[in-house]
């Protein structure tokens, strides 16, 4: 390679690298707010992969674009290109680089996963046998009770065993490690709060421990992430992260309320559509009746928009 080619290649590499780094920074804006400690870790990893991916994508597409623009043949030119069948050095290089990259990405992902496990979201009771409990952040966090998450077609219900409070809105104290116990009464459901970047399928017949650490006050959306049948899309709930003081205040106030039937979109929609005079629709699984809870979520459209 002569000097000019090397300089051009070097220049192109630097430009692509700068664009890729910029893309990597942009990646942070594509997510919901970072409302849990896990979110920061996931976003860092994603930003790294966006940087790397942008570089590779622009490299490949750039080369192709150059070829398409400048290496086209004239209409009546029926000659062939140079009969180059391969280049051992080049082929070794482009096999070795992906292998190195894969080891790098897998190692970095493992590291992030490991840190997330220290924060505790990923381990759960597997096949009835408890896996090693992750180390808690500090002794103060141990005071946080285990909140039961009960899922069924198609309602979320949360149970706080110490105060014996039931709710259709999940309230969590900020900056505390939260321990959830996930249960399903019927089919697979998925516990997914996009702002926390955590997700776990809930498998009927198993009790699954799930942990994470909210770090930002606000109202977020919990969605069912594993398809659960007819009213799957309607199975959502609000998650309220508030200061520990406000959280305890809410618990006390909720404990004082008498249980009432909560609003339940799936059940209401089912009754509305099947009680019509003519119902030509296909027969579906009948939704479970609305949960009877101490605290029932307000109409979410009336409040600040959750994220």
């Amino acid at each position: 390679m002569n000097r000019k080619t090397l300089l051009t290649l070097g220049g192109v590499t630097i430009v692509l690298a700068l664009i890729s780094l910029w893309m990597g920074q942009q990646a942070y804006t594509w997510f919901p707010p970072q409302a849990a400690a896990e979110a920061q870790l996931v976003d860092d990893l994603f930003s790294f992969l966006v940087t790397l991916g942008t570089f590779i994508f622009l490299g490949v597409v750039g080369a192709l674009t150059y070829a398409v623009l400048f290496q086209r043949v004239g209409r009546y030119d029926f000659s062939d290109g140079p009969p180059i069948e391969g280049n051992i050095t080049l082929e070794v290089v482009w096999t070795a680089i992906p292998i190195v990259l894969v080891i790098w990405i897998a190692g970095y992902s493992y590291q992030i996963y490991d840190q997330m496990s220290i924060l505790g979201p990923m381990e759960h009771v597997h096949m009835g046998m408890a896996t090693a409990e992750a180390a808690p952040l500090s002794s103060a966090d141990q005071s946080v009770e285990r909140i039961e998450v009960r899922s069924r077609q198609w309602a979320w219900e949360f149970y706080y065993p110490e105060q014996q409070v039931t709710s259709t809105e999940l309230h969590l104290p900020n900056n505390r490690r939260v321990k959830l116990v996930l249960q399903s009464a019927d089919v697979l459901h998925g516990f997914f709060v996009p702002a926390f970047r955590v997700k776990q399928d809930i498998i009927p017949g198993r009790v699954i421990d799930f942990e994470f650490t909210p770090i930002r006050e606000g109202t977020y959306r919990l969605r069912d992430s594993q398809y659960s049948g007819t009213y799957f899309a309607a199975m959502q709930a609000d998650v309220v992260v508030e200061s520990p003081a406000a959280y305890h205040q809410w618990l006390t106030a909720a404990a004082a309320q008498t249980p009432t039937a909560a609003a339940n979109p799936a059940f209401e929609e089912y009754n509305r559509t099947t009680k019509a005079a003519i119902n030509p629709g296909w027969k579906t699984v009948i939704p479970a009746p609305p949960p009877i809870v101490n605290y029932s979520a307000q109409d979410s459209s009336a409040k600040d928009k959750p994220v």
Binding site: Q71, P83, W94, V187, L188, Y227, T273
Partner: protein, 559 residues
């Protein structure tokens, strides 16, 4: 008396079966000619592509607004279930089997497939299970509404209480599809191993043949797992066994293993022949040999091997312990090495060539670029921490459709245009082809790119309604879907119009190298008057060397 009748018969026995018609009627007969069967597969599957496309447009019609307003929720759920099932089992699998059926015997210098009757039987099962699947719209309770994964316990729920439900018909259709695919796989592997022309050693086989072999091996080891899972599911539904029903002590996660053990490798069954198509097309339109031919050929088999070790990456958010997540993360990422080799080899093939941007080359280039994009999001999905966030969101749907529409459908279109003159003996219209390409390229990106930001923001897949914050990207995706629907019109017009009254095609309109280009367009029954003797590697562009021996004596003299 008898002599005179004998004189008449030989003139008519051009067909492999004495009574087979040689006009358009042969496409509706139990023909055993691999070329007829290939076109039967392609046309049948394209019909179902349109059906699945209409389902997709209905889905996108529902999703153009946040509320569930266009369809009842059960109808919406049936739509996405049937869209996925039709597109996989009635479009991508059979269309690639069709292309392979047409091309493999021609490319390896064989007169037909190894088992012609088995071949015809495998094809005729496609319309049968297509009809069974469509019939599920007519049973009480409607078609299956459990998604194309059919995960229990949702797939076990039977609100109608009937024995014959949409779900049961779905399992039946998938099982017949599996039998048909296994029959096809046996045929392809035998044909490629046993029936190559003299001189066609392994490293003189075109890469398309390598990829078909790699893909069909996957069918042989993978399909039994899916079939076993489907039979257990059927028993659970119909006679009340409890393999997967947690209420009776079964394990729903077990089904996920059965399902993905086949259904992830199945993606490679679909993408590998498309890699083959890219490898065939780029050398022709760049006028250069395929860069690193042997490595590209071998990397197909490497993908086949790795594909059996990656299925758990679909279950990272399921009941999967940490060690399993890490192991399958690594094995999944390793797939990027052989695929990366192929991509770099294609770029090196095109680089410095004499490019001619005919429609097949345009579709090939477009498909390759979108595959690179899909590969990058694929690495992101393989990384466990990221997958935990985007698992079961639209990010996965976006990634998957960049593979399956961006790369596979674009690649299949490239193949249609490239081999259309060979199959029909007519040239297609370049203008309509380019219009088709532009519409497809814009439609694909408009439809599927918005799914990535939606997934990152946390919109789950399979929802009939969603929060209003997701509306913007969903409107764009829906417009893209309608555009993709429209994009098939110039294609259909081009194919039918050109087949009826296109300019007659010469034997080798692209000046391409390959045994299929040495015979007339369309090739005669039994393909080769005399089986050719191959003397060179398949991509000798710029080398001025013959591909086959001109007569047997010259081969003997040279060796």
């Amino acid at each position: 008396m008898t002599d005179s009748s004998l004189e008449v018969i030989p003139a008519q026995t051009e067909q492999p079966l004495p009574d087979a018609p040689d006009n358009w009627k042969r496409f509706f007969s139990f023909s055993t000619d691999h070329k007829v069967i290939g076109i039967q597969y392609i046309v049948t599957s394209f019909f179902f592509f349109l059906v699945g496309g209409i389902f997709a447009m209905i889905i996108r019609g529902e999703l153009i607004t946040p509320e569930a307003d266009l369809l009842d929720r059960p109808v919406y759920n049936a739509m996405f279930t049937m869209h996925g099932t039709v597109m996989l089992f009635l479009w991508t699998f059979p269309v690639l089997v069709g292309l392979s059926n047409y091309l493999v015997p021609l490319m390896i210098g064989a007169r037909d497939m190894a088992f012609p009757r088995l071949n015809a039987a495998a094809f005729w099962m496609v319309p049968v299970f297509g009809v069974i699947l469509m019939a599920s719209f007519l049973v009480p309770g409607g078609p299956s509404q459990s998604g194309w994964w059919a995960y229990p316990p949702v797939s076990l729920q039977n609100p109608t209480g009937n024995l014959i439900t949409g779900q049961v018909l779905w399992i039946l259709a998938v099982a017949i599809s599996g039998v048909s695919s296994i029959m096809g796989a046996i045929n392809f592997v035998t044909t490629i191993v046993r029936m190559r022309a003299p001189g066609m050693t392994w490293f003189r086989m075109p890469v398309f043949v390598w990829t078909v072999l790699s893909a069909q091996i996957i069918q042989l080891f993978g399909l039994p797992a899916l079939t076993a899972g489907a039979v257990m599911l059927l028993l659970d539904i119909t006679v009340g066994t409890s393999f997967f029903d947690p209420a009776k002590g079964g394990d729903p996660v077990l089904f996920q293993h059965f399902f993905w053990f086949y259904s992830h490798p199945a993606v490679y069954v679909i993408i590998l022949p498309v890699f083959g198509i890219f490898s065939e097309i780029f050398p022709v339109y760049a006028r250069k040999p395929l860069f690193g031919y042997k490595v590209v050929a071998i990397s197909s088999l490497v993908i086949t091997g790795l594909s059996g070790l990656v299925w758990v990456h679909h279950m990272f958010a399921s009941g999967t312990p940490g060690w399993m997540r890490m192991l399958f993360m690594f094995s999944t990422m390793l797939i990027s090495v052989p695929t990366g080799i192929k991509v770099f080899a294609w770029v090196a093939t095109i680089w410095g060539g004499k490019l001619r941007l005919d429609t097949p080359m345009l579709f090939g280039l477009g498909g390759m670029v979108m595959f690179v994009f899909a590969g990058i999001t694929g690495i992101m999905l393989a990384s466990v921490p990221i997958d935990i966030h985007v698992n079961n969101t639209y990010f996965v749907v976006g990634h998957f459709h960049y593979v399956i529409y961006g790369a596979v459908v674009m690649g299949v279109y490239a193949a249609f245009y490239h081999w259309f003159p060979k199959m029909t003996g007519r040239m297609y219209s370049e203008g309509l082809g380019k219009l088709h390409f532009v519409l497809t390229l814009i439609g694909t990106n408009l439809n599927f790119f918005p799914m990535h930001p939606l997934g990152l923001q946390g919109m789950p897949r399979r929802v009939a309604s969603y929060d209003p914050e997701f509306a913007f990207w969903n409107v764009l995706a829906s417009l893209g879907a309608f555009l993709l629907g429209m994009s098939t019109l110039p294609f259909i017009l081009n194919m039918i119009g050109s087949w009826v009254q296109g300019k007659p095609a010469p034997g080798n309109p692209w000046r391409a190298i390959g045994l299929e280009w040495l015979v007339s367009s369309p090739p005669p029954v039994e393909n080769f008057e005399e089986i050719p003797v191959v003397v060179a590697e398949p991509y000798g562009y710029g080398k001025q060397e013959p591909l086959i021996a001109t007569d047997v004596h010259s081969l003997e003299a040279s060796s």
